[in-house]
């Protein structure tokens, strides 16, 4: 290659390190906080100490980390691929229900009716478990369902929707309708998942008490590490050529098609991945929050996920995580301080973000950090 070779004028292609030195330090720092600092401050530091981290705070952060996984999943399909789903709450809830079934079986004979069957089934005078509960005593099998049910449902739905080239607002409305249909289905007692009460009163997970401080801490650490793993996975996906095809689909889908790519396969892949991420988030959410019911499938729950991603900043991966923490942190403070004003605040927040921060909190942070003209990816 001669020194004047035109190749030298090309920008450097990214190599496989995924993150820079700073990025990896932040990730390692996050792992240390989640796996060492929080457990120490919560379990080892006595309750009276000012450094002690209360159970309430730990539970709140764990819950928000589950939400952050959903926001990350939303960002992959909405921010990077341009498909707005208003129905990802369905996949979150399905993952949660799969976990909840196992937790219900773990109650054993300790329920109100001292029966092998879950309480709501005794109440409905059922004599045996329905077929859907066939594998519910096995943790491994239910964990498989956590991934498989959202995965298969999203694949079937996505295949029909993308093959019919349904786009934009029409697609969003159909996803909304689907999660609403799911909610109505799960509201029915006959469906066999506890009707409008859902599942609650969990006692054990893997035969250890689910509410014990050590169990809660293990769940917290697993949730935190899963969120970090999802972040790295999402980073790898968007940095690959696959991720560039996704952004190309967002900007000019017909061109992608006339370049020989089949957008269907790409959209379907990322769609299923995001649904599975939400399913896993739901499965981690249920044992920590202690309840799952059909309200998780309500349209409003899914719309909130879109709000987290939009507030944090679409098209960046840190953004949705920040957005989930910001909105939910504000929500838990507001609902205590001014309970009746929370919904107004949420509405005002969304209007403000749409009007003044089209790229969310991350866009704002960018504006402060570098006032240059460089365009972020």
């Amino acid at each position: 290659m001669s020194p004047e070779s035109p190749v030298r004028l090309l920008p450097e292609s990214r190599r496989g390190l995924l993150l820079g030195v700073r990025g990896w330090s932040v990730v390692i720092g996050a792992v240390a906080i989640v796996a060492l600092v929080v457990p120490l401050l919560n379990l080892a530091v006595p309750a009276g100490n000012p450094l002690h981290l209360g159970d309430w705070g730990v539970a709140l952060v764990a819950k928000i980390m589950c939400y952050a996984m959903c926001a990350l999943a939303m960002d992959l399909i909405w921010g990077y691929t341009g498909i707005l789903s208003l129905g990802h709450g369905l996949y979150f809830a399905l993952g949660g229900y799969a976990m909840g079934m196992y937790l219900m079986r773990q109650i054993g004979r300790d329920g109100n009716y001292r029966s092998e069957l879950p309480d709501f089934m005794v109440f409905l005078d059922w004599k045996a478990l329905p077929w859907t509960w066939g594998g519910s005593a096995s943790f491994a099998f239910q964990m498989l369902l956590v991934v498989a049910v959202p995965g298969v449902l999203s694949a079937v739905f996505g295949w029909f929707a993308f093959r019919s080239r349904i786009k934009g607002v029409y697609f969003s409305i159909i996803t909304q309708a689907l999660t609403y249909a799911g909610m109505l289905l799960f509201f029915r007692n006959e469906t066999g998942f506890g009707g409008n009460n859902g599942f609650t009163d969990f006692k054990r997970i893997l035969d250890v008490p689910v509410a014990a401080p050590s169990t809660r801490m293990v769940l917290f650490v697993i949730t935190g590490l899963t969120l970090i793993a999802f972040y790295l996975l999402a980073r790898a996906v968007v940095n690959s050529k696959f991720g560039r095809v996704l952004r190309a689909i967002r900007d000019a889908e017909t061109r992608v098609m006339f370049t020989g790519y089949d957008p269907l396969k790409y959209k379907l892949s990322i769609w299923v991945l995001s649904a599975v991420m939400c399913g896993i988030a739901g499965a981690l959410y249920v044992p920590q929050v202690g309840i799952i019911n059909p309200s998780e499938m309500s349209p409003a729950a899914s719309i909130e996920m879109a709000i987290w991603a939009a507030v944090g900043g679409r098209g960046t991966l840190v953004g949705p995580i920040v957005g989930a923490f910001f909105v939910n942190g504000a929500k838990s403070w507001f609902t205590q301080a001014f309970p009746e004003f929370w919904l107004y605040f949420l509405g005002a927040l969304f209007i403000a973000v749409t009007l003044f921060l089209p790229r969310g909190i991350m866009g704002l942070a960018d504006r402060f950090r570098k006032k240059g003209v460089e365009v972020r990816e």
């Binding site: 190749v7 090309l10 920008p11 095809v245 000019a252 790519y261």
Partner: protein
Amino acid sequence: MTPDLQEAGAALLERHRQSASTSTSGGASFGRLVHGLQPDFAHGVALYLDEISVSFDGFKALNALSLAIDVGELRCIIGPNGAGKTTMMDVITGKTRPDSGAAHFGSNIDLLRLREPQIVKAGICRKFQKPTVYEELSVFENLELALVDDRGVPAALFARQSAAQRERIAEILQLVHLLPEAARTAGLLSHGQKQWLEIGMLLAQAPTLLLLDEPVAGMTDEETERTAELFLSLAGKHSLVVVEHDMKFVDMLTQGHRKVTVLHEGSVLAEGTLAEVQANAQVIDVYLGR
């Protein structure tokens, strides 16, 4: 089977073997293996449209349109608005299904049976009227996605750029005069530069047939001239179909001897050199609206 027939068969087979080993590739087309999406150009025709009709709500966008483009030919297609030029491209690239007629690529590929990505794979690339590039990717990344490669999802997930691919991208960027802009975001390019980028993206796919819908719209005179030079250098290696309104550009491309096709109301009105069709009474009527 009787013995003498067997002998006759053996003799036939032997003769066939000999003819196969001595025949050259430009010979007759029978007896050669043709693979799935590999077009067969042995007859010298790249694209063949036969009696294609398309109607939208009763409006006949194409009315029994027949057209043949030779291998390596540069054909200009002109016609007033609504003549069916864009619809014709839609049919060729699989975007629109015709009501009747046949469309073949080479002598073996039935375009009406394929989906868009398969048609691209067979070697037909299209430039849209409005420049369509990936606005938020860099110029370099735009070409990276266009480059011939496995289009599957797993391949894209684990793709690594090779030195040969980078060299090919640099080559194309040089050809379309965008090398200094390689790292820029495509959305920041001028209109004419976007047109070039899109042409570069077509070239990166190494197509055999290029369909170009008004490629010089919005370009300066100098850019138009350079584009004409580029297309002329491509003719022969690729087949090109250029739809254009700019007669000066058509004149540059045809250089007085190449064929021009005039479309009107969905079918071919006239065919010939630019001077011939411009002298055609019917064509004058259509253009002047008499």
